[in-house]
Subunit: 194 residues, 2 copies
DNA sequence: ATACTCATGTAAGAAGTTACATGATTAC
DNA sequence: GTAATCATGTAACTTCTTACATGAGTAT
């Protein structure tokens, strides 16, 4: 049976011990979210599928009168995770509306490109802030498993790089877009292209 | 009527003049692909929807005995594109298997983290190569519309940054992963975490 | 001839989001 | 008491990919 990529997120989140679906969702939001999100609508059905396949085991562990099912990796599940980790990563998908809008900026009103770049900068500044908030906790756990912290720092460094790029781009766009650009450009346009 | 994000890719690809579905797909593969992909299975149905909505207009323009439908932006379509460009970009989705595997590397065999980083480096080296191949063509068109070239250079710069990060990460992992790490680490692990 | 590119499309299904529903516990 | 958090789940829907089918033109 083939597993979806998100199934491996679930298996992976159980690598250090039992967790409930709710806890997995929380862990995803605090960690892999910026490069791999997952919703309840995926996690809960996935846990059941994995249990049926014998890769995880569910156990009722209510807290007070609150029902709660905690899942544990089985040996088969751990092996499956290991096998997947042993394959070279393939999938890399990006949907970046900011880049798309910048790409089409020629069809926008004059000066809009710079605003799009500014919006992109703000997005990544917020991302940095959010990641910095979870950084201390991640650093504390790095002792027993260094990789999540490693990846978190990648996320921060990446967004910092984007912010720098936006600042450079801003300056470049100002040279590119003097007030009269709109008129002068239209003259140079190939007939085919208008 | 709401448009899907990919509908705007189609509208945007018509901003400089009429194109067939086939040509749109080609343009996507040569340009927006690295941050926004689109398949025939989206493009052709989308063109029909947009035509029904009056945002594009199709015209039969066979080449030889080969049927061919070419679409043009209507005024309404151009306005719709402009309105969308005037809204701040929101969507940013990443699915990065390499980061996910690195995140879970603690559950992999020793030394696997470094291999994942190496694979990531290769992926982005290939990306740079592909982008460099289309760079001259993009640079040539920058005269009439500078933005696609602008975004292309972002793509190259980004992948170059990733390659550098991978080189740094490689070195850091070697410090982190001396041969005996596996044993020593297990001792420091909290009981909750095993 | 045969392989490649041009050209358009559909069907099936995977993957993922959103909104909703339910109900207990905890903090103020 | 009431708002937030803990906890689980489903249904409807959107989005997107993959695989397939068809057929003409072009280059070797």
């Amino acid at each position: 049976m083939d597993l979806s990529p998100t199934a491996y997120v679930v298996l992976g989140m159980l690598r250090h011990g039992p967790r409930s679906g709710y806890e997995i969702k929380q862990a995803v939001d605090r960690s892999t979210r910026f490069f791999w999100a997952a919703s309840y609508g995926q996690i809960y059905p996935e846990l059941r599928k994995l249990a049926k396949a014998g890769l995880v085991e569910g156990e009722e562990r209510p807290q007070g009168g609150r029902r709660r099912t905690v899942y544990t990796l089985t040996d088969a599940g751990r092996e499956r995770l290991r096998d997947w980790l042993a394959e070279d990563p393939e999938l890399l998908e990006i949907r970046d509306e900011a880049l798309l809008k910048l790409f089409f900026a020629d069809a926008a009103s004059p000066g809009r490109a710079a605003e799009i770049v500014d919006a992109r900068r703000r997005t990544h500044e917020e991302k940095i802030e959010r990641l910095r908030q979870i950084e201390p906790a991640a650093a504390g756990l790095a002792d027993s498993d260094p990789y999540p912290y490693f990846v978190l720092r990648y996320g921060i460094a990446f967004s910092e790089w984007v912010v720098e790029w936006c600042e450079d781009a801003r300056r470049e766009l100002e040279e590119l877009e003097p007030r009269e650009r709109d008129e002068s450009r239209r003259d140079r346009r190939k007939p085919d292209d208008g």
